[in-house]
């Protein structure tokens, strides 16, 4: 189940392709449902779809209530089917609502999916990322959204799908509850999710000034800058720099976590890092055990010095890339 009305469409395709490849067992995905704007280029849409067949549904506006009516129709057909959604805003809302509306089973942020004989089981993280739960799903249709931290997104989604059905939907009364709907595109995405080198700041930054100082250090050493949820919730840094289950799921080669305690919800956002360095003055911070290299000291002094000694070679590296 894909939403091509938003610019994260390619990411949804790559995540679901990666999930199907790495995190499922005994599942054959054959059809994609793609919501798109009426004016969208059909060829381009079909190119990204990670399965052989596609149903294209054109919409005047990307509104979830409208999409949901379409989904209810699809899911109401009585077929035993699994409907997979990416774990973005669209997917985590619609998987659950579709499952409920069709009288099936729903689950958000699934990490893995197995099908053996008649039985379908899923795994997902619970207890704020401290535990993994396994569920047996009992009632079709199964509407699941995929955790954004579950699979490595596929590099290529591979094939180009064939459109087996196309329809266009008029907006009905379902959006009558809402007036003056305006979509404000987010600022140019900081490339946290694709950055090869990230500096992440936690509560240990102590203040807005501390966060600013860290952001400057990040710039000097050539790292993208991200923050934990408490930092963003205190408005010390914009929400767009949030790392973790409610923000960016990063996978840099190198991640320096400074003043971060290491709560699972944050750690999920950096756990795919190739190499993690933690800098925290608290020797008991849980992040240390989840890092490759640990410095127990004042992050300010460490980063300051690091930016002094590493500034030159890094700039040289970046220039080469350009």
């Amino acid at each position: 189940m894909l939403n091509a009305c938003t610019n994260d469409y390619p990411d949804q395709c790559r995540l679901l392709a990666g999930f199907l490849e790495q995190r499922t067992n005994g599942i054959e995905a054959d059809t994609a449902v793609v919501f798109h704007r009426e004016e969208a280029d059909r060829e381009k849409l079909l190119c990204a779809v990670p399965v052989p067949k596609a149903v294209l549904i054109g919409l005047p506006q990307a509104r979830t209530e409208t999409m949901l009516n379409q989904l209810a129709e699809l899911g109401g057909s009585g077929e035993t089917a699994v409907y997979l959604f990416a774990g973005n805003c669209f997917g985590s809302e619609l998987a659950v609502r579709m499952g409920q509306r069709c009288g099936g089973t729903f689950m958000a942020a699934v990490d893995g999916l197995q099908c053996a004989g008649e039985e379908i089981t899923v795994t997902k993280s619970v207890y704020g990322g401290h535990m993994e739960a396994e569920y047996a799903l009992k009632k079709a249709p199964y509407c699941l959204s995929v955790s954004r931290s579950s699979a490595e997104p596929a590099k290529e989604t591979g094939r180009s799908a064939v459109a087996i059905e196309e329809r266009t939907v008029r907006e009905g009364p379902e959006n009558g509850f809402s007036e003056d709907y305006a979509f404000i595109p987010g600022k140019e995405e900081k490339n946290l999710e694709t950055a090869p080198f990230i500096l992440a700041a936690g509560w240990g930054a102590k203040s807005r000034e501390g966060v600013d100082a860290m952001a400057q250090a990040a710039e000097k050493i050539g790292a993208e800058f991200g923050v934990s949820r408490p930092v963003a919730m205190s408005a010390w840094a914009p929400m767009s720099s949030l790392i973790g289950v409610s923000g960016a799921m990063t996978k840099p080669e190198i991640c320096i976590a400074a003043g971060v305690s290491g709560a699972p919800a944050f750690y999920a956002g950096i756990e795919k890092s190739g190499f993690i360095v933690s800098v925290n003055s608290d020797p008991r911070a849980p992040i240390h055990r989840k890092s490759n290299v640990v410095i127990v000291d004042d992050w300010h002094k460490v980063l300051q010095h690091l930016s002094e000694i590493s500034e030159k070679p890094l700039k040289a590296t970046r220039k080469n890339e350009e």
Partner: protein, 274 residues
């Protein structure tokens, strides 16, 4: 007057648990009873946002009726009393008894929907998008479905549009949505910055904090209770997630020396390969 229903939950502080605390009890439970309790942070945002509606200028003069509802044991009463002192109009606790509702959002949602339909009759339901323990992220969505109401998700800001409508800001893929929403509607609260719940004064605690809490039982909601026996998704197992790495400690006398070792032995080569 605008009627708001605020279902909220109380959560143990999971970050206070040590490694051995994650050892599992026989019935797939984690013993969190030794850990202090706190508001679920998304619900805390919802509660504070509902109060902020009365704060601002002329729009603050609109009239609100706030009903807070929680499903939980006795320890939740302290939190309800805080809300009473913050002048919430109605406080309800549903005691789940022995029922294990951690992974049963459909039961909780049914209960909330039934309460809304038969007792509270709210214009809007405001609640956090998920809790920590169950991590289900379903309850507000299911509540909307059960009531046949629309739902706005990932809400980050609220203000009064007029006496009957709210101006709602929410996160959507690729940006932000802003809309004027008419009742009835479920608002699922996401990452809303600067929404710590305010603190009532002792005088308000004395004046309002003794407002009685309506105590209900799960059996008062037969629709919800009936769902208990046959979950569509049945919990099979729970296992602690360990994510350990080697954690090599860089030892030196000064932070500068540590930074140098980090750069020389661990970062330089890796950075050059980027």
């Amino acid at each position: 007057m605008m009627k708001l229903l605020l279902p909220f939950s109380i959560t143990p502080d999971l970050e206070a648990l040590s490694e051995e605390d994650w050892a599992l009890q026989p019935d797939l439970k984690v013993d969190t009873s030794f850990t202090p309790l706190d508001w679920n942070s998304f619900d805390e945002s919802a509660l504070e946002m509902s109060l902020k509606l009365s704060d601002n200028g002329a729009a603050g003069s609109f009239c609100f009726y706030r009903c807070a509802l929680t499903v939980g044991g006795m320890p939740s009463d302290r939190f309800l009393k805080t809300l009473a002192a913050l002048k919430f109009d109605e406080l309800v606790r549903v005691d789940p008894g022995d029922a294990d509702l951690r992974f049963r959002p459909e039961v909780v949602a049914r209960l909330i929907a039934d309460f809304a339909q038969t007792q509270a009759h709210p214009d809007f339901i405001l609640m956090g998008r998920q809790t920590q323990v169950g991590d289900n992220a379903c309850t507000p969505l299911l509540t909307a479905e059960l009531l046949g109401w629309p739902c706005v998700t990932q809400v980050t800001a609220l203000e009064s549009a007029d006496e009957h409508r709210l101006r709602v800001t929410g996160a959507v893929d690729g940006g932000t949505s802003v809309q004027t929403v008419s009742a009835p509607c479920v608002l699922s609260i996401g990452d809303a910055p600067c929404t710590y719940l305010r603190v009532p004064t002792l005088k308000d605690k004395m004046a309002y904090g003794k407002k009685p809490i309506t105590l209900l039982k799960l059996s008062d909601f037969p629709g919800a209770e009936a769902l208990l026996s046959s979950p569509n998704a049945e919990l099979r197992s729970l296992a602690p997630i360990r994510k350990e790495r080697e954690g090599v400690l860089i030892e030196a006398d000064t932070p500068e020396e540590k930074a140098e070792i980090l750069y020389r032995d661990y970062l330089k080569g890796r950075l050059n390969r980027l």
